[in-house]
Point group: C2
Chain length 223, copies 2
């Protein structure tokens, strides 16, 4: 058994059966120190087909290779799990975003850079998530792709169904997308490659000292 792990655990005296237990816990600052970067939510927002999830995953990959602790929350791992009880009514959509915000907050508290990829079309919902977090912890990333391009891509055939009236309240067709007016990162993604979009996010994180070019990436550069 290692010696070190028990060294800092203080145990107070045993007063017969009425044991008074000292609560030792790891502070947020200690978790940040272990990871070597500042935690935050990178909140990707944009139309269906804009490339939110693709860019978020590309950024995630770059951060991973810099040795950062990260996680991506998107429809794939949230819709059928945590939010499996929710539908697409207005109140359920708000609750969907609220829960993603609260879970993001837990991940940030754990010291991670968490990337979320949800359309999140309404300003008020995104601001609600911003208020859950502390200063610098909420980074809004607007994937600004013209709807014509999104509709041309239509990876899931949703625009086609919305145009045919088979889907109601589809963002950009018969439901509003309220574009952010002061996103921390605004990416004109329609004419850029995934690499260029992701690099713009990484550049923001470097310039604002969330991450740094560390030895980890130097060591593996020539591999």
């Amino acid at each position: 058994m290692p010696e070190k792990p028990y060294k800092n655990i203080e145990v107070q005296g045993d007063k017969s059966s009425d044991v008074v237990w000292h609560q030792a816990s790891v502070s947020h600052q200690e978790r940040v120190l272990l990871n070597g970067h500042e935690p935050a939510v990178l909140w990707f927002t944009g139309l269906s087909g804009s490339g939110k999830s693709t860019v978020a995953n590309a950024v995630d990959k770059m951060l991973y290779e810099l040795g950062c602790k990260t996680y991506v929350l998107d429809g794939d791992n949230v819709r059928h799990g945590l939010n499996g009880d929710l539908n697409f009514t207005d109140s359920d959509r708000i609750e969907n975003i609220r829960r993603v915000g609260e879970v993001s907050k837990l991940f940030v508290d754990a010291g991670l850079l968490v990337l979320t990829a949800f359309i999140s079309p309404f300003h008020a919902d995104r601001e609600l998530v911003r208020t859950l977090l502390k200063d610098r912890q909420f980074i809004e990333v607007f994937i600004d792709t013209p709807i014509e391009i999104c509709e041309q891509r239509d990876p899931k055939g949703l625009y086609k169904k919305a145009r045919a009236g088979e889907i109601k309240n589809f963002t950009g067709i018969d439901s509003a997308y309220e574009a952010p007016n002061s996103a921390e990162v605004h990416i004109l993604a329609g004419t850029k490659s995934v690499e260029q979009c992701a690099s713009q996010v990484i550049q923001y994180l470097l310039e604002n000292k969330y991450i740094q070019q560390n030895d980890h990436s130097e060591n593996t550069k020539e591999a």
Copy 2:
């Protein structure tokens, strides 16, 4: 800008405006590799006042000092946030545990050792969480403290209120606690110190190869 982060991002050709984007993503196995330990949920269960949260935080501290990536989910960070919309009705208590299970699953997917501290009195609810996770990812830790000791401690004065009839359906008083019959770790906590209880959990993780005594702890042993 670092060279390395962009190396593994493959970008497919730009076919005019119809850009086909390659989805690069970090695999679960890659996240595990970066952290250097196997992720899992340590699901602490036991009566109110049994010491679940205290022991979980002590284990967390020990794991932190071994360089493991960890997080504690308990009433403090879940009840008022993610589960702030839930009450103490039967259905809300089940939903509370379900959400904690789903969030734990996300943390495990992110590669962390997550420690949860909830009474979770019902066998069926704990088993529901177990089924959400893969083999080895759910470790039930039963903090088995006699109710007499819990009631004597009564850190939040809840037993007193339950005895006075001010709280209904209180676990151990007028609502059942279904003790696990095959918990991975069964701690007879009534006569042990926090350190002894936490060490028993660490011992389990070492013996079952979730964690190892690594260089990190060696380096700091004499500090």
